[in-house]
Every structure is written in C-alpha cells, then in structure tokens.
Point group: C2
Chain length 247, copies 2
C-alpha cells in the first residue's frame, strides 16, 4: 500500500449510535497509513440518530420501522458519489441485504469481515477453525437483536468456530453497557461490560467479539485486571476499508 | 434545553484535517445532552482531505487553490439539506465569507464564536476586556496562515483583548505539533505543543487559544506539569451548535 486511490469515496451510514460513528471515523483515520491530509481517504458520513430503534424492530417488539430512514441515508450517500459504504452498527446489519438491493451501494459487511478476520488469524487467538477459537470457542457480546438474528452465529458455525453466547445475567450487563454509552457515560458502561466479560470468561472463550459498536467505547473503561482477549469489529472494518481503497 | 429541533441538519465541512474532524464530531456528540440515540442531532459530514493545502494558499506561497474543492463540499452539504454548517479548520476560515456567499449555507464562524466566548467568560480567565484576558492578554497558537490573516487578532482587538503571538521559535514548535498530528503521531505533537506553550507562558497570556483544530489533539499528550489555561475553539463551536439546535 503506497497511496490512496483518489476515485474512492467512503460512505459511512452512521448515527446508530452517534458516538460509535464518531469512534469508527476516528479509527479509520488513525489506521490509514497517511502522512499528510491529502493522502487520507475522502469520506462522507450520514449520521441520522433519529432512525427508530433497531433492536425493537428486529425483535418484533414494536416501534416504528427504522428501514425507510436507513434507506434514505444510503441513498444520500449514493447521491454523493460513494463508492464503498460501511455501516458501523451490528444490529442494523439485519437490514443489510435489503439496503444493498434498494440503494445499489456496495457495502462491506462488518459481520462477514469480522468472521473472515477470525478465520485468517484464528491461531493468534489460540485456536482457529475446527472446534473454536480458544478452549471454549468464540465469545459473542451484542444486542439481543444481533444475537437473535443469528448473523454472527451462522457465519461462525460455517467457519467451524464454536460460539459462546452470554447467559441472561451477562446479557443484562451488556444491555446496560450499551445503554450507558448511548447516555454519554462510558465509565459506567465499562463497569457493566466488565461484569459481562467476567461471566463469559468462566467458559473460556477467546476472543470475545464486541459485536455492538457501543461496546468498544465501554471497553476503554474496563476495570483493570481482566485478561480476556477482545476483538473489535470496527477495527477490522476500518482496516478492510483502508485495504480496499489503497493501492 | 430539553429536546433537539428535528428539522435541523448539522453539516460539517471537514477533512481539514481528518483527525480534527473526527474529534470535532466526537465532541459534538459528547456535549449534546441526549440520553438516547434519537435525541442526538442529525449530522452530515463531508470530509475531503484531498483539498489542497490551505496554509500555502493563504500565505500565497504557491500550490493549488483549495477553494473550489471547499465550495464543492459546501454545496454537497447544502444539497443534503444542511440547515447549519460548521468548518472545524481555522485556516480555512479565511475563505468563510466566500463560502457563505457562494454556497448559501448558514455557517457558525468558529473564530467569532471563540472570541464571543472570551467576551462572555473573560473574568473566568482572570481578565476580560479592557486590557487582555490574564495579565498578559490572550495567547494565540495556530498556523502561520491563520495568524497572517489576522482573523483572530482583529476580533480580539475589537473586544479590547491584548493578544500575545508566538515568537519564531515557538511558531516552529506549533508547526511541528500540527504536522505530527496530521502524521498520526499525537504523542510527538504533544511534546512540540508543550514547548510552544512554555515559550508563551513567559509572557503570561491567559487563556492560550488553540487556534488550529489539530492542536487540541496534541494537547491530550502535553507533558505533565504545565499550568497554562487553554481554550479549545472546537469545544466552543460544538457547544454553540447544540445551543442553536436545541429548544
């Protein structure tokens, strides 16, 4: 990689939530091997946090349909000339096939890219395919909606990884961690995420995938002393964007 | 303030530089008093880091004209429905009157807002109008271009603040701090900024305005022990956006 391809415009369909979008954009900038402004990637961000709740829509527990607003955002990004789109929200990936079909945008799929990364680097996590990452398989923390869709589980199973899902008390802590990040309190979020990870590590998964884009923000404030190996899909996605857009 | 006005779309004309844009967006999110995604502001970001160098253009030292690319970005933001625009780059504010005229966008002027904040809170910096902020006036650190335009100096003088500008050795350190942030090395940038601030504090300015949007990123890595009071115009701008967009 030596220079960006100037014809690329990276479109970020964001706002779900906004802090996660800002953190993703910062990661994309940090992970771009540029040494001056002009070598960085052209980026357009559409961040509409007023998109109705994705979790409720996916779980069918009511609320307005978020899809029309998501599609409107994708169409804005397309009109701007986006050549490669990403959506730093796992729950919203339930709508990704529809978004691709209806917007005509090319998206990198964060779930597929993360599982692909696990397949490529499985051994660095002490495992690999054929029975799981670490001794207990790959851990998965996300919203109830992301877990309910099975998007990660299907791909992980196809790649022959065993999957460790949180039990109810840990999921409650994950829900609180996500909520606290969205409330602007990442410190409290870190405490909740720490409890969820502690509950998971009894079953020895490695790595634990932070499959909600709010969770890496909580992970900055984890209590000291934890030894779990975490995987941040937004880092994987940012690296893949750079790989796609640099020659 | 109790809720955002749903009709607002905040447009960020960014990419100058990209890390500063990401940091500004993160500050806007952090400083919005929302407790759930749906209460955050709708934001569109056009971040084209390939805009030619603004410093060279303002100083007339050669290079391509950055204005056409800046105007194209402003027009993209307008086409998306932007109701309030900001540009987190001080040097580019030399082009702000032209941008307002040619794009038809309403911009908040970061320089004017920062001086306005100094006028409102002058006493909290130990001074106020009528002779300067602290004992030695208001310090100003930015690119050579920002200082050459006199944008800040004129407004500060109009508000009866004395202005302390860096001498050449301190300006060299500021230039290096900005360059290091753009190179993705904020730790080295912090060391350079620390040297610039040390050189300034001999003349006792308070506060020192970080009048380049890369400098607050360097300030996160200042050596310990400094006592200078710093003012970050991107925080002022983020707060003003929230004030404008909330009822």
């Amino acid at each position: 990689m030596s220079a960006p391809r100037g014809d690329h415009l990276v479109g970020i369909l964001g706002g779900m939530g906004p802090a996660a979008t800002a953190a993703f954009y910062a990661k994309l900038v940090e992970r771009t091997p540029a040494t001056r402004d002009q070598d960085h990637l052209r980026v357009a961000i559409w961040a509409d946090p007023t998109v109705p709740d994705r979790v409720g829509a996916v779980l069918g527990t009511g609320g307005a349909d978020p899809y029309p607003a998501m599609l409107a955002g994708a169409r804005h990004l397309r009109a701007l000339g986006t050549t490669l789109a990403v959506m730093p929200c796992h729950t919203a990936h339930a709508f990704l096939p529809d978004l691709v079909r209806d917007s005509g945008l090319r998206f990198l799929d964060m779930v597929a890219e993360t599982v692909g990364q696990l397949e490529r680097t499985g051994t660095s996590f002490g495992g690999g395919g054929g029975g799981g990452g670490g001794g207990g398989g790959v851990g998965l923390l996300g919203t109830r909606a992301t877990l309910a869709t099975g998007l990660y589980q299907r791909r992980l199973h196809d790649a022959r990884f065993a999957v460790v899902l949180p039990e109810e008390p840990a999921q409650v802590q994950v829900d609180l961690a996500i909520k606290k990040v969205k409330q602007g309190d990442p410190v409290a979020a870190g405490l909740h995420l720490g409890k969820a990870i502690d509950a998971m590590t009894e079953r020895n998964p490695s790595p634990i995938v932070l499959a909600c884009t709010e969770l890496p923000l909580a992970a900055r404030y984890l209590p000291e002393g934890g030894t779990a190996t975490l995987l941040d899909p937004t880092e994987v996605l940012a690296d893949r964007v750079v790989q796609e857009c640099w020659d």
